[in-house]
Symmetry: C2
Subunit: 458 residues, 2 copies
């Protein structure tokens, strides 16, 4: 039996992903005299959002997708490898198979793991069927397998599924994406925006099957090697490899074991300062229960950027309320590239707003992302804003454009966070430059806000 | 003698540049029943900010830099070509050489014209010496001349000068930029940021001479064809063509003629709603007198985006205060590309803040604009924020990065406009995506804000 080594710290962070890493760094900045200790499972931590790019030519291997932990070490944050298996919350001691760690504050940043519908769990035993966990060894195994095959089926139409589809396609494979609803990227995008993304998939030769779903994964007569998927409609799609990209679920086994109450969708219940019901224990990131910034209803959104923001809140609230800045729910700001176009979304869509009973008005503007339109590589830019009819307050936005889109959607995110109205956006000051942005006369965020203001007058 | 044709309108806008165009469109949106008439001088209106790109390979000709006026016509805004030569402000009649136009409200959007130091005015008579007015015929003439020569000297180190230097260099010319101060782009950038831009000029083979200035332009023994410039230091630089890019001055001859009071730096005095001292007469854009958003002191900043914002304010305040949204001064949000790097600035620099007696703190963060850093085309990203020590309020920012920079600086602009503090920015929610942005754990605006907050604690 291994001898247990005793360790002591002021703050113990379980997990070294975006939430855990940011929480540790923030804690050290705010409480430089405190000992911060991070326990994480893997020597090599992948950058989660770039995992799809390992599978194609963008990165090409997991060695190029390694998160740097340099800053933590520099700041004097300790890290040990291991898995916390139990916690005595009374004595404030955590146990790994090697260490007994006493702590004052404990932070759960245990992240999430792939979610698979019960009806497809049988398929996980088949050779050639993979989920995409944030685990280098498992990602490497999936890549090695898929590299050798031709027909790939992706189940799921979220960002991970779509990004992987494009990467596999660039690598020359035949790719079919199968979703359970009419359009891809449901959630962040309204149908007319998703349709634009679907057009690009089609142009690149990716097959998308919506409004149908995989009911069974088939092998070759009992050999447990995947050969095809069977759809609800009866259709059978050949598959040498199947990626189940059907979302993630909070990783909460330890939290449950020690009796921390869970919230909606299985995440650890937390208040606005990321405190669990035991106020010496915090949770941040995908393992915590989230709600939407606008609707305040439970949210399944899992984004590294949201996790980082939560980690910052937790890390600065460990020893009392320092900034009185809580986390008021995820704005759900997303972006991705599909082909040469970026798609992004912040806040809630028109569809979701209407479903929530919102009395809303939308405005959309389509122009060019450079000016004049003759600038090399100029491309179309589409901006849609969603605002409340009574107050004019902006609650959502969607943008299609070029490489400027990733930061442009952050402007919309800030408008939502700062509770801005279209009347403020109409007059906002911006920089415009031929090589970098749309024209000053047609700056699309201002134009879309103007269109909403115009509708509000009538 | 030509017969005068009579015209009538509710709103007469003089000038078809960004301020005039946006003012007309905004007026029509806000007052659909009013007749809006724009008088402009040129059949073809150039997109002002892209004029430098006419001179190199980016656009290559002025025909590719034409502003579209489609929207105005579609909305029922009338346009006539001509030059307003006089206005009877009592009778509310404007006169061109062809039209007698009665109006209810008048908007000056007469723009700006090149400014040349008195000591260099003599050079304007020389063949091969050019300023860069927003006039297609004159731009074409300059381009045709410079196309045929090898040695080009650019006097002035503002955006126009630097952008033209890079374009000429790409076109294979020997280029020398001569400025009157140690660094280029003084005003929007602190020295350490300007230095990065200067390195790129050097790498591209552009010669920059700072801390010296042109005292005389020389010809070949009285032939009035430029041959060189003589510097204050005694140095002589050979020049087959000289571009005087030494700024612009408000175009106010008509305003002065009819007795409208001018403000600082020669612009037409306006209040926050862009009204001149005659409240039926408005002025917007480069012809109006500006002040800084932060310092409230007179500002020489001339940007199409500022002009557009002013045009929107004017166009919505013509017939009474509709939104109670005035123009509180220019935030001066800029961006440009120099080589493969974008340089941008918003608000005031550290240098300017200190000069104004500001008690400030700065924070800077340097990382990568994509994550992980192995993403193809990832490049360095540098963010500097300037904040007030007591309140933590953000008053300025500078960013160097890739093509995301143009919209990223607009986030900083919005922070300044919304009077955000570093304590808010520290916790802001953003989207991050490998192909489009920095990492969620190291999002540079948040990191720079964190660094300021950290300094404020001590």
């Amino acid at each position: 039996m291994e001898v247990t080594e005793k360790k002591q710290c002021d703050v113990l962070v379980i997990g070294g992903g975006p939430a855990g890493g940011v929480c540790a760094v923030t804690a050290k900045m705010n409480y430089p005299d405190k000992e911060i200790l991070v326990v994480r499972e893997f020597e090599v931590q992948l950058v989660p959002c770039a995992i799809p790019y390992i599978f194609g030519e963008t990165l090409g291997c997991s060695e190029k997708d390694v998160a740097s932990c340099g800053m933590a070490a520099e700041m004097g944050i300790s890290t040990i490898l291991g898995k916390v298996e139990d916690v005595d919350t009374e004595k404030k001691v955590a146990y790994t198979n090697k260490y007994e760690i006493t702590f004052d504050k404990l932070v759960f940043a245990t992240g999430s793991m792939p979610f698979v519908h019960a009806s497809l769990e049988h398929a996980l035993a088949y050779e050639g069927v993979f989920t995409i966990p944030k685990n280098k060894a498992l990602v490497d195994r999936a890549k090695a397998y898929v590299d050798k095959v031709e027909d790939v089926v992706i189940v799921g139409t979220g960002f991970i599924g779509i990004e992987m589809a494009m990467e596999f396609r660039e690598a020359g494979k035949r790719v079919t994406v199968i979703g359970g609803s009419k359009h891809i990227l449901k959630g962040p995008f309204d149908p007319e925006v998703a349709l634009e993304a679907e057009k690009i998939l089609l142009e690149h030769g990716v097959t998308f099957i919506g409004e149908d779903r995989v009911v069974e994964v088939l092998d070759n007569g009992g050999d447990s090697i995947v050969s095809a998927v069977q759809l609800k409609s009866g259709r059978v799609v050949q598959a040498h490899a199947v990626i189940l990209a059907t979302g993630y679920k909070p990783h909460t086994s330890l939290a449950e074991k020690i009796g921390l109450p869970l919230g909606h969708y299985g995440g650890i219940w937390v208040d606005e300062y990321m405190r669990t019901q035991n106020t010496d224990i915090f949770a941040a990131g995908d393992c915590s229960a989230r709600r939407g910034f606008i609707t305040k209803v439970p949210s399944k959104v899992m984004l590294a950027s949201t996790s980082a923001a939560e980690g910052r809140v937790a890390g600065s609230a460990l020893f009392g309320l320092k900034y009185l800045k809580g986390f008021s729910g995820t704005i759900a700001i997303f972006s991705t590239m599909i082909g040469k176009s970026a798609f992004s979304s912040a806040g809630i869509t028109e569809e979701e707003a209407l479903k929530s009973g919102g009395d809303i008005v939308v405005g959309a503007f389509s122009g060019m992302n450079r000016h004049p339109a003759t600038i090399p590589d100029a491309q179309r830019q589409f901006v849609k804003l969603v605002a409340m009819r009574q107050s004019g307050r902006i609650i959502g936005g969607q943008i299609i454009g070029g490489n400027e889109t990733g930061e442009m959607i952050n402007i919309v995110g800030l408008m939502i966070e700062m509770q801005m109205t279209v009347f403020q956006v109409m007059f906002m000051q911006v920089a415009t430059q031929p090589m970098l942005t749309a024209a000053p006369t047609n700056y699309p965020l201002v134009m879309a806000a103007n269109m909403i203001a115009d509708k509000l007058k009538k």
